[in-house]
Amino acid sequence: MDIYRLDADLKPGKLALVCGSLLADPVTQEYRCELTPQSESRVSTDYHIVEVAYNAGVTDPVEETVMKAVLDLSVRGVKAVKTARRYLIEGQLDEHQLETVSSRLLLNPIIQHVVRAKAVRLPQNPQYGFRLKQIDILGAGEVELAGISRQFWFTDDELQTITAHFRKQGRNPTDAELETLAQTWSEHCVHKTFKGRIKFADITIDNLLKNTIMKATEELNKPWCLSVFEDNAGVIDFDGRWALCFKVETHNHPSAVEPYGGASTGLGGVVRDILGTGLSAKPILNTDVFCFAPPDFPYDKLPPGVLHPRRIFKGVRAGVADYANRIGIPTLNGAILFDERYVANPLVFCGTVGLLPKQLSRRGQQKPGELVVLVGGKTGRDGIHGVTFASGALTEESTTISYSSVQIGNPIMEKRLIDTLLQARDRGLYSRITDCGGGGLSSAVGEMAAETGVRVHLDKVPLKYSGLSYTEIWVSESQERMVVAAPPDNIEELLTLFAAEGVEATVIGEFTNDRRLQLFYQGNLVCDLSMEFLHKGRPQMEREAIWKQPQYTEPDFAQPQDLGKDLLQILASWNVCSKEWVIRQYDHEVQGTSILKPLVGKDSDGPGDAAVIRPILDSEMGVIVSNGINPQYGKIAPYWMAASAIDEALRQIIAVGGNLKRVALLDNFSWGDTNQPDILGALVQAAQACYDMATIYGTPFISGKDSLNNEFEFEGKIISIPHTLLISAIGVMEDVNRVISMDFKRACDLIYIVGTTWNELGGSEYFRTHGFIGNRVPKVNPQLAKELMDRLSLAIEKGLVRACHDLSEGGLGVAIAEMAFAAGLGAIIYLELIPLGEPIDRNDFILFSESNSRFLVEVAPECRAEFEKVVKGINLATIGRVTDADVLEIYGLNNRRIVAMPLHELKEAWQRPIRW
């Protein structure tokens, strides 16, 4: 039951009008008006009633819509609206059981509560009276300083630097000044680990990012890279007229405590990164990658204060899908991975591609005298301290102390913002734009004004409700806001345009030329920092790193006789199984651009490799997006994990018909506590691999992000996530009509394996199902891999390949099964025909090896000669053919049949686990 509480003085007729013509559907719903509602959670003989409402300070976007719609009905006198939901639960439960049901299923105490009869339902917001707050760091003793460090999450070095700075000025800082420094210097905003000094073995790396990932881009020096590592997203040339930008963000910590809100605002945030790139881009595609603990994780092993992974999974999925669907961006690509070590720190990666005119692809630069204009949503207490929260570790108290860090998204506000901003861009009304993301205004304005200086009047910022202090206004992370710099001559037109679309736009300050950050509240100066100190004053971090490869038990189980059962088990594993339940709930058709959808094949339920779109509806050019990620390999060797992730992302681009001529990469590192030398060492290893691979594949990195300190502390124990690197790739395709899909097309066609199979099952799904990790992690030979990919893409471009699928988790066994059941066509293959890199005498190892740079390819017999001519020189072999039987047959070494499995059984095993 939906509950709307109106704080209103209405005549009965008007009330009936509001209910009958607005709130209730006349065909399917009934309504009842109560003046003094009885909504206490109580035990009755028939059913229990539980009413759930949002906590004070949490705004439900529906409330604003109701206010507007009530006015449309010409009904005046409604002062406020609060929404709630009432559940009727049949059955006999005691108070304790009811409490369990409520807290586990019906509400999240971070944002909601059960309404009791006496609760104040329309609470008054507190008022704020100005009082300048100074923090006494000059007179503070050691204990006080430690307290200040903790409060603002400063390191000792940082606080010393700050103290020295203010001592020179002869005054204490204000709270706004310390907050600004805390936000600007946070790991989330400046990546102090990546940019710090790292001692690794005998060498000192001064700025890991510059020495690996950015260095690859610099050396490759591709003319089509238009803007790299300097803006909110990386930008590449698309067709000479248009450019593409791409960014992937993490929103891990918020998603851990409030999955729905955390994930949806993560998506909203990355979309604003795209809006804030160059002079603003139109978001055209989403890709989402999640890492959770397995959905069958036992409840009794759950650390205190942690939500169950199934609930996190469902909440994150819903948050991302609701937001993306509502703003009309197709979600066409993604992945979901499972590992127990994500139990307290789920990972949520949201990525967005944008399209913008090439000549607007560079970041703008405002002149002194231009105005600071805040556009979009109003400012509330949402997400205060999100950045510093995201930069620290989670503890069992995180879910109770972090309430103000969780934000509630309003996707329609964001959609309005997109619609309006793109019009303003095309009319040239502003000179620069950036998003209000982590750190709120403090980061956005502080960064924009780094080269000029700025004066901001915080009392001009439109607020959702009263009671916010000047510092809260400055650091609030309320969603759906952007900042633009506009010349005074354009301001009237800009404000008129925003008003016409019903979107708030407010001048809150002006850029200066004094290189100072000055904030005012009701005429009082509350912050006065030099840009030099704010942006360059941070002491560089120095850390030690070591790396030693761990040794795991080498598996010693006997080779099973019938591998059909093992194949079914791998297909049904959480990592490999079908994610259709998730994918169908995303709109992947909006904008009408999809060329290759996430689900492909005869019944549109097979796992496609990469997504392809046609961003400009009357052009033949396409954009390919793919991702590579495998945290299991990182448990053995982070270097090869990174190399494998890059290879995987590129394989998928090749598999759908793309090539490596214009492919750019993004990195997203989610790591544990990098203060631990071995964890930092793993990061150094992975970053080094990024450089080594990118330079040889010829695929530059254009942007990236890191999320460190993903660990959880409880009862003295620490759970750290596996090192996780997500590689996202974006490629340009000349002709979308060349796209192919992974499903087999015709019986009697030949099946080739392209690439070399090694005894590489370390971190594989096969070993995992047998309870092992192993040590022989899949490696990459990038020179050979590049040659192979170039040849194969040429063969596909010439139309010689009917279907192609890359080999990843579960190796050949999974890939062949997927190609067959996606097509409803059988296959017969022989393992003894497979080109091996080293002798392997076990069928199971050949079938489930996860060696990189391998593909399965379907070629028509009449194209055989031509195909083999084009791919000459690379390691490949015909290993069987497509059949019209409803069965997958695999013959092992010595020609014994080791798998004979009906397609429907394979498909059922793959589809069953997440058919929710």
Binding site: P61, T65, D72, L73, Q585, E589, G592, V600, L617, V739
Partner: protein
């Protein structure tokens, strides 16, 4: 002959306006994306157009119920304009959220004939938003001008509230244009062929004149051959199944 002018109505949360405009342009029309505020403020006039489209999206977030807030706006602030537009022979097309809006505004099934809406679009039986392709059978008896000459189509749906619900008295009087069906054209198949549990497998309806048409599936997402989910298996056709709807509309409007 002057070109047909199509108004694509925008409101906060509209998100299929650009591809809908593209479909009409391909069919030979001139299109304008017009914000509802522009109509309310009289900066734009409905009477300058021959076709009005309420495209897909989540207008006003679909808060309260899908399409409800925009429906009330249309009815209360632009009711007379819309009535005049219809009386003068203009065409009205509602797609997905547009279907929900036209029904909840009382423009369908029978424009303004009664104060009490006769049918509604409710939450899908699956309880979920779903994006999938569906087979549609066209009712040959239907007066709908948009579907002339079409027998069946394969189009995507993407919605959470698409289940047509009508009372037993209303049901036989509805001008049903499209039924969900399976690949053989049979309407007996059930979910997921009928993706939302719609009564009598209804996917689209029109008014008695056949000039006001609304449907849950998205014809504008199937204009080019490469939008078809099986084009990599079956080869590329020049046009998608949805294109004829736009051609029909533009051709009809040319005679106005």
């Amino acid at each position: 002959m002057s070109k047909v002018r199509t108004l694509i109505l925008r409101a906060p949360g509209t998100n299929c306006d650009v591809e809908t405009a593209f479909a009409f342009q391909q069919a030979g029309a001139i299109t304008s994306l017009v914000h509802i505020n522009e109509l309310i403020r009289r900066e734009q006039r409905l009477s300058d157009y021959q076709i009005m489209v309420v495209p897909g999206g989540f207008t006003y977030g679909d808060d309260i119920s899908a399409g409800k807030v925009l429906a009330n706006e249309l009815r209360l602030k632009l009711g007379e304009d819309v009535e005049r537009f219809i009386d003068k022979g203009g065409l009205v097309l509602g797609i997905c959220n547009g279907f929900q809006v036209l029904v909840k505004a009382g423009i369908l099934p029978d424009p303004w004939r009664t104060n009490q809406p006769l049918l509604t679009l409710a939450a899908n039986d699956s309880g979920k938003f779903e994006c999938r392709w569906v087979h549609l059978k066209v009712n040959k008896e239907s007066p709908c001008v948009f579907t002339k000459g079409i027998e069946h189509m394969y189009l995507p749906v993407a919605h959470a509230e698409g289940k047509v619900v009508a009372s037993p008295e209303v049901l036989p009087k509805l001008n049903v244009v499209l039924y969900y069906a399976d690949e053989n054209g049979s309407s007996e198949a059930g979910y997921p062929h009928n993706p939302n549990g719609s009564i009598a497998n209804i996917a689209g309806i029109c008014d008695a004149s056949g000039r006001i048409f609304a449907l849950m599936p998205h014809p504008e997402r199937c204009i080019r051959g490469t939008q078809h989910p099986q084009w990599t298996r079956q080869g590329v056709k020049e046009y998608g199944d949805g294109f004829q709807i736009f051609l029909n509309a533009v051709k009809w409007a040319q005679s106005l």
